[in-house]
Symmetry: C2
């Protein structure tokens, strides 16, 4: 035999390895979660079940910003600040634009050079597959595994140009948006709705010649945020400035998040938000399973395409089309059509 | 017999009446659409099917604003401007906060006194039932019926404090947000995300002592809008001022919408948006039907509640819970459990 088959870790190996905080096992478990193979998915599901009671204890922070805003250098400085407090930090990156390969993992470690060598930190990109609910679900599961492995702060990073921000908002406790100095063109890249879900905006690169501009940008955002209603947490969105280069403002970002946690814990929002997120993920999963189930039946899948075409060109009402699709799905489940 | 049973209109009566533009029949047809009785719903569905090819030809405008912004007086002035151009206008109002009774219909007609007497205008509130997808679906169907009855402009009004704005955005071509002069407290009532979906903001009551303040408010919003990325239509959101009292700016609002229609028609967004909306309503309907179907099976309904509780308190993973629910639903359809 040319290739020796690598022995699979058993469910017990995975469970015990994770609960012991073994990074090699954690890495393999995240790969398992990301796998599209049915047997891997089943094992991943059981693994998550096994470690479930050990999850939920970390502080979950979402972070986004357009390319060029300086996410890597910010995460490096911010991450070192966190591990410097004696806290174990996991950084999970979602980049739907580039498929994850050995190379890109390496790329991620290179762009956060110091942090990747920090024994208190764990850096991991999430596979870019959009199949069956996309990368966000995989990231959420990776997050739960990191929590079970004892990581105390989880930083979930997105590139800030896609739909993933809303999904990330729905898995974290606090959402950070990094912004560049200066209004106008540079800001045009910020996706609609992102500013409104942020718990804090951080103006990056506030150093050297940029300091004055960054303070102007801070004031401008602070002003603009007055137009929005207060978020359900009761927290007023902050605008901060920071420099990964001088380290200025990095501690303040951390302190702001601590302040938020304290306030949201006292007013009950922190726990209520987590509960609401759990239910919402359940509904999401169910709706995805249902959708996959519908897609699984070839006749139903084909009918859906036909109906969508009819609805689009107004030869069929949405109502009638929906009823027909449900009937076809029922028949498929009953085995009347495949 | 004390009560004579009112003869039901036949499907043919409804269809022909609507296509002739008979307002009495149109009113009854909207009532039919709003009815929760199964046989009414079936007839409504067939009616919509019958008139479907006669829909889609109007200009659909959404309008919202917090209570006190002057929606009724704006609609009155704006509506008269539209009918003054020789266009037939239908005004559909969604108010999820108050159930529709004869009284509230009367109330609506009173608050738009002139417009309600205009033979070119048709004013109708939509029932406030939230059952099965809520009022938005009923409003959309009422809109289609109005189109089939020959109305050339449809104005869909919401109260601006609920979730209905997003649903309305998804049924109209152009979305107007009315705002008050002055920043700060008065603005706090604007729901998150509403500013971002608006194609134009109209500062109301720009008359008398208020003119200077309204111009300041206009400038402030114009500035704030620069923070957002351009919408997919390529249209840059405008901020206008108007006075229902002096009539100032009312024509400009109309002209802005015409300009939008022209630009969006040329770049193809107008038609593409309509097609996308149709498919999206179909998916929405289907997902609602499916949900109602799940609720319909008592055992599945009960199981869902139990699973949600388990997911909330972390005794069950979202994954496992979703799989269990799907299995139970399958069994219910196969008749294995009820």
């Amino acid at each position: 035999m040319k290739h020796t088959i690598k022995p699979r870790l058993s469910l017990t190996d995975f469970t015990e390895g994770i609960l012991k905080g073994d990074r090699i096992v954690l890495g393999q478990a995240i790969t398992l979660v990301e796998s599209k193979r049915k047997e891997d998915q089943d094992q991943a599901s059981r693994l998550l079940e096994n470690v479930l009671t050990h999850t939920g204890k970390s502080l979950r922070i979402g972070l986004t910003g357009v390319p060029g805003v300086g996410k890597s250098t910010f995460i490096e400085a911010f991450g070192k600040h966190i591990t410097g407090k004696g806290l174990k930090l996991a950084v999970l990156t979602i980049d739907p634009s580039s498929p994850v390969t050995g190379g890109s993992i390496l790329g991620d470690k290179t762009r956060m050079d110091e942090l990747s060598k920090d024994p208190m930190a764990f850096i991991r990109p999430t596979a870019a597959s959009h199949a069956l609910g996309g990368v966000a679900h995989k990231t959420r599961e990776a997050m739960l595994l990191c929590e079970a492995a004892g990581f105390e702060v989880i930083l979930v990073e997105t590139v800030g140009v896609g739909q993933s921000e809303i999904a990330v908002k729905n898995m974290v406790d606090f959402f950070l948006l990094l912004v560049l100095t200066g209004a106008g063109d540079e800001l045009q890249g910020i996706k609609k709705g992102i500013i409104e879900i942020a718990d804090a905006l951080v103006v990056t690169k506030a150093d050297g010649d940029n300091v004055t501009k960054s303070l102007e940008t801070q004031a401008m955002y602070q002003e603009a945020l007055h137009l929005f209603a207060a978020p359900p947490s009761g927290w007023q969105t902050r605008v901060l400035t920071s420099s990964a280069f001088t380290g200025e403002g990095i501690g303040e970002v951390y302190n702001t998040i601590m302040e938020y946690r304290q306030a949201a814990t006292v007013n009950g929002f922190f726990a209520a938000n987590r509960r609401q997120q759990n239910v919402s993920w359940f509904r999401e999963y169910f709706s995805q399973l249902l959708n996959a189930d519908i897609e699984h039946h070839a006749a139903v899948r084909t009918l859906r395409k036909t109906l969508e075409a009819g609805v689009t060109n107004l030869t069929l009402s949405s109502h009638a089309a929906a009823a027909e699709l449900l009937e076809a799905y029922h028949q498929a489940i009953r085995g009347i059509r495949s």
